[in-house]
Symmetry: C2
Subunit: 160 residues, 2 copies
Amino acid sequence: MSGASDREPTRATESPARSNESAARVADRLHSAAIQLLRGLRVTDRKSGLSGPRASALSVVVFGGPMTLGELAAAEQVRPPTMSRLVTAMEEQGLLIREGDSTDARVVRVRATAKGIRILQAARARRLASLQVVLESLAPDDLQALATASGVIERVARSL
Amino acid sequence: MSGASDREPTRATESPARSNESAARVADRLHSAAIQLLRGLRVTDRKSGLSGPRASALSVVVFGGPMTLGELAAAEQVRPPTMSRLVTAMEEQGLLIREGDSTDARVVRVRATAKGIRILQAARARRLASLQVVLESLAPDDLQALATASGVIERVARSL
DNA sequence: ACACTTAGTTAGCTTTGCTAACAAAATATG
DNA sequence: CATATTTTGTTAGCAAAGCTAACTAAGTGT
């Protein structure tokens, strides 16, 4: 994709125009590259029964600790009913449990089980293995470029 | 994730073990960063009726020119039935058309309509606008880092 | 005490992924 | 030439995951 063959900016005057055009082009390429990368990393892990959305949600609970269903829904940017269903499915898989809150009987607290933690770690390792292999074959400069860019991308994503 | 201060010495004489560790860490952070980035960029564009999968497929046809349904399915990494249904839906939206092939009556050739091109461009512009704004506020070095990394990521994705 | 707000669930719809089974056309083989 | 195989796309039917609307239960506030 990407309008790769689009015209060069009429580099008549200053940096502002050039900077804008450049930002637009980088936005396009970065977006496209991110899509391709994640598409290549097949997210669904049939072996462990951990789909993309489940792995993502479980990862939030494992690394972030127990939290309410609403917080988890917000973190995953889905609506409560969607998260409710995801949690039910993962609970049936034995990956996490619903707990009540002692001070507020409305809230549902979600906690990863030992099995959930174990399975998440294994799925993560499998998912990243193929990427790691490719990265190992990169020139050191390229790997360094990715390391640097990762930080920048994280910052960019945070301010989106 | 982990390593708050992760300035890795780019030493030319790294040992293999060290290199592996670094690749693993970069894999993790890059993967996570890509997810966060795309999550921030809400893909579904209700206004134009162009969901993520549709926008992506249409973009391939618009920029790559007419192609067979099978080629499009391969490009989008979905099975033929999935693409067949996607094409049917987009055809009903008037975004593209199915055409027969003169030499092989089995194949279906898919071509974007003028409306499809127009709507894709508009949706792309909307989708990238917010990212572009953030990128424009970056330090030139950071923007350059992203530009460089985009190319590397594209290469990495291609060999996944 | 009664109205309002908040947290989560249930019900039901849509989209998008898949596999299995099929039809039609092209190609290979006897 | 006739038939078997392969290729291309479709249809049918299932499951996952997203949504909104409507509901229950529990806190809050006037």
